[in-house]
């Protein structure tokens, strides 16, 4: 057991996987000599060599597309997208190539590749450096979408992504890279995908969330506990596959649901969660499902971190609306 930051846990997962499997390679912009702009791959090129930790041209589409080819050939590439705000250039490669090869070839070929996408706001990065693109990649199939938060979950999620036979997108919590530290069971065992984690237990309201909002929801929950409102926070860990059983079980206990995400509201993954909850737990709901999310506006440099991202104030307000709702 060791105490690692989120960033160190990700580096540890890549190092362990590369040590265990020679077909694992890392490629991306600045990932080699400098160890990546966030230093997530720090020391890996020195340790595994420039043939396995590869500095590429500045071209997200090209990086993803070459990783597709490497994966087709049988390697296990890990792509670092410098910021997830730049992932959209690679969208077609990820969603219409990597995640479709298995299906379109009747299972003859597949693309076991990992795309690491540093995401979320909170670093004063403005629009392109504060993105939460996860919902785009849950639409259309053929790819898994992981959203770990804690160092332990990040370590085991990335190991699971690398071991997975399909393409996997890992949405990483940039604002927690260095600020969140925790115990990491460095056992080289991949996370079992499709299982969520109860970050906080409660009987009154279920908050469905992922990423840094898990911490913010927990913070709001602690404050509300003083008023006698017990909030359950479910850290979904992965959106595809989704732990629907745990979601439904929690909603059946609490009867109130807050869907919480940083990404913009319309067409966000929260809409999918709301649809699933009403389909599977309609009779248990005391109030309409509440959404606290980013807005349908670009993430603003000067006001974004405070007024775009949901914060304790807005989460608390959302929970209060749920508690005060009357038919």
């Amino acid at each position: 057991l060791s105490e690692l930051t989120v960033l160190e846990s990700l580096t540890a997962a890549m190092a362990d996987a590369m040590e265990d499997d020679e077909s694992v390679v890392v490629l991306g912009e600045d990932v080699g000599v400098s160890g990546g702009i966030f230093r997530a791959t720090q020391g890996l090129q020195q340790r595994f060599g420039p043939q396995r930790v590869i500095d590429t041209p500045l071209d997200e589409k090209g990086i993803a597309a070459h990783a597709v080819g490497m994966a087709l050939y049988g390697m296990r590439p890990i792509v670092e997208i410098q910021f997830s705000g730049f992932i959209h250039d690679a969208f077609e490669q990820i969603m219409f190539c990597a995640s479709k090869y298995r299906w379109m070839t009747g299972g003859e070929y597949s693309c076991p590749m990992v795309v690491r996408a540093p995401s979320y706001g909170g670093i004063k990065g403005g629009f392109w450096h504060s993105q939460s693109p996860e919902a785009y990649f849950t639409h259309g199939g053929g790819i898994k979408v992981l959203t770990p938060t804690t160092p332990d979950d990040c370590y085991h999620s990335l190991l699971a992504a690398i071991a997975d036979p399909d393409p996997v997108l890992v949405i990483e919590p940039v604002p927690l890279y260095r600020s969140l530290k925790g115990h990491v069971e460095r056992d080289r065992r991949p996370l079992e995908l499709g299982r969520s984690r109860v970050a906080r237990e409660g009987r009154d309201v279920t908050v469905l969330t992922w990423g840094p909002q898990v911490l913010r929801a927990t913070e709001a929950a602690e404050a509300l506990a003083a008023d006698g409102i017990e909030v359950e926070v479910l850290d979904l860990l992965s959106l595809v596959p989704l732990d629907l059983d745990a979601i439904v079980a929690s909603v059946q206990r609490t009867g109130r649901v807050l869907v919480l995400h940083e990404a913009a509201r319309t067409g966000g993954f929260g809409a999918e969660l709301a649809a699933l909850v009403q389909q599977h737990a309609f009779g248990y709901l005391y109030a309409p499902i509440e959404r606290v999310t980013g807005h349908d506006v670009p993430y603003n440099f000067s006001t974004g971190d405070e007024y775009y991202r949901p914060d304790v104030l807005r989460i608390t307000a959302g929970i209060t609306r749920l508690m005060e709702f009357e038919f």
């Binding site: 071209d59 090209g62 080819g69 490669q93 299906w103 009747g106 003859e108 036979p165 596959p241």
Partner: protein, 382 residues
């Protein structure tokens, strides 16, 4: 007397003599005259290999002709003609070793034949039957076969060029002695992935040939609307790579050039090859070339037909005659007819098939959607 209105609006579309007629002037490597006479040194190609290339080209054309009829009579839903491009893809495929990887586009049935795919397998794919390697999930003629090291294209033109380069790069990183070739058209050079692949390849030197089949037209878009460069091969210079132009209707020039550049790719890295050819037919069965090109142009190119030139080469080397031709055509026609009958009789995929191979193991969402569809279909059956 009035001047007739120009047939086509927009970009000028003049009938031009095929550049193959003045190959040297256009920097096109050519080894055969229009009538199959060798230009320059005696060829080193084994006559048996030349014959097999020719036979594969003829089979490809017969398959294409029959397939077009099947589409026009409604038995096949879609067709992508390959007439005129038989040498371009068959001779280049023939220059590769059987376990080298091919990434094909959509007019390369001959590559599958060269690699030994049975006709019934090809027609099973064409009819969308599940008894073919890709389980009949794709449009007719988008072939692939892992056991023959043939990777099918993703349908976005050119998007797969870096997939081939990435696979070649992986082979190089793993120390495998394996060569790669990727086929794409002139239109694909406008895509970002063409740039990505050649740019990466200039730096990382994977063992691959970027094989651009310049057939003159991307649907209705001529070369002059696709790019301002005079050739496609010259684009290689922007990436620190060599680019060559080869007569794409000249099996000998194609085979020799591809063979040489394949060897080179294993030690020194990639080359961009521009195979100057011509799509004699429609873009697809949904196209109408009358809207954008003249019959005269197509006829001028037909004078440079790759099959005629290959046949004349063989005849000049006493390796072919009218009897052999007749035997080949009648045998292949019969084989194609039998393959069509056999393939058409195969079962279509079950509706449940679409839920498999999305992920290695269907997740809960997929399982529930399959169960729902199955239930709904039972209702429809009642």
């Amino acid at each position: 007397m009035t001047t007739p209105a120009p047939k086509f609006a927009g970009a000028p579309r003049q009938v031009v003599e095929p550049p193959l007629a003045r190959a040297e002037e256009f920097g096109i490597h050519q080894r055969l005259t229009r009538d199959g006479e060798v230009i320059g040194d005696d060829p080193t190609i084994d006559v048996a290999v030349a014959r097999r290339i020719y036979e594969t080209m003829v089979t490809t054309r017969l398959l294409d002709e029959r397939g077009w009829e099947l589409q026009r009579s409604g038995r096949v839903e879609f067709w992508i003609p390959m007439r005129g491009q038989e040498a371009s893809h068959v001779a280049s495929t023939a220059a590769y070793d059987p376990e080298d990887w091919l990434f094909i586009a959509s007019r390369e049935a001959g590559a599958m034949l060269w690699r030994g795919a049975p006709l019934v397998q090809l027609f099973a794919q064409i009819f969308g039957r599940s008894a073919e390697p890709l389980r009949g999930r794709r449009l007719p003629l988008l072939f692939g076969d892992r056991s023959r090291f043939v990777v099918p294209c993703t349908t976005q033109v050119g998007a797969y060029i870096p997939h081939a380069a990435g696979a070649a790069w992986a082979a190089k990183l793993q120390g495998h002695e394996k060569a790669f070739i990727v086929f794409f058209g002139d239109g694909a050079t406008s895509r970002g992935e063409f740039h990505s692949a050649l740019n990466f390849a200039g730096v990382h030197r994977p063992p691959i040939l970027f094989f651009c089949q310049n057939n003159g037209w991307a649907v209705s878009t001529p070369n002059s609307v696709q790019t301002a460069t005079t050739t496609f091969a010259e684009k290689a210079a922007g990436y620190g790579l060599p680019g060559v132009r080869v007569d794409g209707n000249d099996f000998l020039a194609l085979w020799e050039t591809t063979r040489r550049l394949r060897e080179r790719s294993l030690t020194e890295g990639p080359t961009l090859v521009e195979s100057v050819t011509y799509r004699q037919g429609f873009h697809t069965s949904s196209d109408n070339p009358d809207l954008y090109r003249t019959n005269e142009e197509a006829e001028a190119w037909a004078q440079w037909d790759p099959i005629h030139r290959a046949r004349r080469f063989l005849e000049r080397h006493d390796a072919w005659d009218a009897d052999l031709e007749e035997a080949l055509v009648s045998t292949k026609r019969a084989e194609i007819r039998d393959a069509i009958h056999a393939a058409e009789a195969l079962p279509k995929p079950d509706p449940s098939d679409q839920f498999f191979d999305v992920l290695a193991t269907p997740d809960r969402a997929l399982r529930e959607q399959l169960a729902q569809l199955t239930d709904d279909l039972k209702g429809a059956a009642r």
